[in-house]
Structures are given as structure tokens and as C-alpha cells.
Symmetry: C2
Subunit: 221 residues, 2 copies
């Protein structure tokens, strides 16, 4: 197909496609006899859709996308790709993370996060970014003297474990690594706000049933 | 207690406490015989901790916090307080939301979000912000031609429903509306990154078990 059709079918503008071609994110098309024209295939379309998802949905920088695309073509292990795609941090968070890492040392919260992971029997890399996130939350809870600790989070961990089983099931039926990587981004990233929204709705429902009517409201002025 | 002790026990600096006093977020203390000194009680401490949580954790503006504190003292219905606390949007998101509202009309995604809510039997206000969030995600999924639709989200909705039951259970044992409101903020907001982190960890574990070893990697170049 011509670049104009590639643009129409991918939803990416021609100038942006040209920028991706120059930057090496997208491989050059087959040269045709017509001057200044190249022919693009389905693989270009699929790759372009993945780039659009990574940049638009996952909000990654072009250089991070380049790294991910490199990993997808060089390696054949979906687990690694899933990890690269989900663990890569949006450009704006990278500085903060490296500042924290430079500060060194492990907080009590991170220590507790590791205890939770052991208790759940989860096999994860000790470097996974989510361990620090979980540790930060536990530190913040302790900081406001909350009685919510890592053990209170265990029932949550068991339910999110079942959510992750749904997540990996969404990967079924994908053909080829590019499509698998695209699904990994959608499932891991785009579903995040959806899950939080579902929780808010369910909370509103439960809260209405439990607390409405002011029955609990009489004990404070 | 003196303002210095209030500062030490709340973790809020004296200049910030004075600012909250001037702004009416914190009621004045009892005047003592000592010149320029006031006496503060446990209620001041609790209120200050709630302000700190709303501003620091929930990232609300001082005027939004004022509104919430007003609702807590005027109304006695915990369900309403839970709704006010969780539905209030951080200052930076407010403009975007009103722009969307000004644009009017309901997208296909929002329509589908309402179908999901009906299917779940959730009793929620039709104006709840989370409906629009869920709709935006469904629109974004359709935009990238994903086959994940509102029906694929039903199993997720059932698990988040159980998560919300854990959430309301965390409210038990709180004494007084100020503490209940504080817990509502912690549970609804501070646990959000923790839940997403738990999901990532569980995904990594599942992905390792299912996809590792390159067995699935042979079907694409």
C-alpha cells in the first residue's frame, strides 16, 4: 500500500509516519518504480499501530519505544516482552525513579512488600518497579499512622492475582509477537483506569447499601 | 496543647498550621491567659491529619478541602462523605473534565459503561465521574480495534466488586466522622497505586509461568 493508505488505516498522519521512518522506528517500505514512492505491507501497519499504542496510550518516549521494538524483533520470549512493555516507565517518571534509586537503601515499606510477595508465592524479579511502588504506599500508610499494613493487603493480593489470570487470558488468539506486545500494552496499561473506575463504582454501590441513611453518622458532631 | 506540639504530632509545620487557621480550615484554639498563645485539642489534631491526607495524598486544592470539611461537619451521612471524598477530582484534572462536559453528548463507551453497571446491578449516581472514565477506556479500546469490550470487562467487574467489599470493611472501627473520612481517603485513593502494583506483580508471576522459555515465540519473526 502507499503511505497515504498506511496513514488512513493506522490513523497516524503522513508527517508522523515519515518521522518514524527517518528515526528507524518503522522499517523503510519496498521501493517501487514510481519516483519517491514506496510500498508498505501489513507488517508496517501492525508495527505502526503498536507504536501508536505505546506512544499514545502508554505515553512512552520515542527512544523507549525504539528499545521495546528492538526487543520484540530480537528476542522470542513473550514473558520478556511483557516485562519490557509493562515495566518501562513513562518519560516523566524516569527522573524521579533514578533519584530514588540514587538515594539507595530499602525502606520498611519495600521490605514489607517483599514479605507480601513471598507470602503470595509470586515469582518476580527483585528489581521489578512495582515492588517499590507497593513499598511507597506502605510507607505512606505508616506515615499517617494507618493500621493498614502488608498483611491487610493480602486479601487484595489474592483478588488481584485472579485479575491477572483474566489479564493473561486476553493474550490468547493474538497472532505474532507484534500483536501480542500490543495486547500486553492494552491489557496492562489501558485497563488500569478501567479497573480503578470499576472499583469506585462498586465502592459507591457498597457504600450506599452500608452507610446511607445516616445510621452511622450519629456518633460525631 | 500548644501549636508547637500540634505541629510535632501532626507533622504539619507551624507556618502551614497558621495558614490553615487564617483560611478557616482549622478552627481557632482556646485562648489562654498567656499572650498570643492558644490551646489546641485532639479534635484539632485529627482534623489537621485529615487535611494533610487530603492535600498530600489526595492532592486536593485548599478550597476543595474546605468543601469536604464543610460537608463532614454539616452532614451526618457517611455515604455522602465517602462520595464527596472519592469523587472530588485533583485540581489539575478539573479543567479537562469541564471541557469534556461542555462538549456534551455521550460516547458509545459511556453508553456501554452504563450497560455494564446495569448488568452488575450496581446502584450508582448517573453523574459519577467513574462512569465517564470507564467510557473513555472503552472508547480508546474501540479506537485501536481491540476486541476487549464492556462484556470482556464483566469478570473484572465481579472481582473489583469483591475488592470494594474489602474496602468498606477497612472503615470498621473508626470513631467519628473525621476519622471515617480519613479512612475513606486512604482506602479509596492511597490504595489505588498499591492495587495496580499488586496486579503488575501477579501479571509478572503469571506471565513467567505461561510464556517463559520462548515456547510461544516461534510463530513470528
Amino acid at each position: 500500500m502507499k503511505i497515504s493508505e498506511l496513514s488512513r488505516r493506522s490513523g497516524v498522519s503522513i508527517p508522523t509516519i515519515k518521522y518514524y521512518l527517518r528515526d528507524g522506528l518503522l522499517p523503510q517500505g519496498q521501493l517501487t518504480t514510481a519516483a519517491n514512492q514506496a510500498d508498505y505491507g501489513e507488517e508496517h501497519l501492525r508495527r505502526l499501530r503498536l507504536i501508536r499504542t505505546l506512544v499514545g496510550v502508554r505515553r512512552l518516549s520515542v527512544s523507549a519505544v525504539k528499545e521495546i521494538l528492538g526487543a520484540i524483533t530480537e528476542e522470542g520470549d513473550l514473558h520478556q516482552i511483557f516485562g519490557i512493555v509493562t515495566d518501562a516507565r513513562p518519560a516523566m517518571h524516569q527522573q524521579k525513579a533514578s533519584e530514588e534509586e540514587a538515594a539507595g537503601g530499602e525502606t520498611a515499606g519495600v521490605h514489607d512488600a517483599r514479605r507480601l510477595i513471598t507470602e503470595m508465592g509470586w515469582e518476580v524479579s527483585p528489581e521489578t518497579a512495582a515492588i517499590r511502588t507497593l513499598g511507597d504506599v506502605l510507607d505512606a500508610l505508616a506515615d499517617v499512622d494507618s493500621d493498614i499494613d502488608w498483611q491487610s493487603l493480602l486479601p487484595y493480593a489474592r483478588l488481584t492475582d485472579r485479575i491477572s489470570e483474566l489479564d493473561v487470558r486476553q493474550m490468547n488468539g493474538a497472532s505474532g509477537l507484534l500483536e501480542l506486545a500490543e495486547r500486553a500494552v492494552l491489557v496492562s496499561v489501558l485497563l488500569e483506569p478501567a479497573l480503578l473506575a470499576l472499583r469506585r463504582l462498586a465502592q459507591e454501590d457498597k457504600s450506599a447499601r452500608l452507610f446511607s441513611g445516616g445510621a452511622d453518622g450519629g456518633d460525631a458532631a
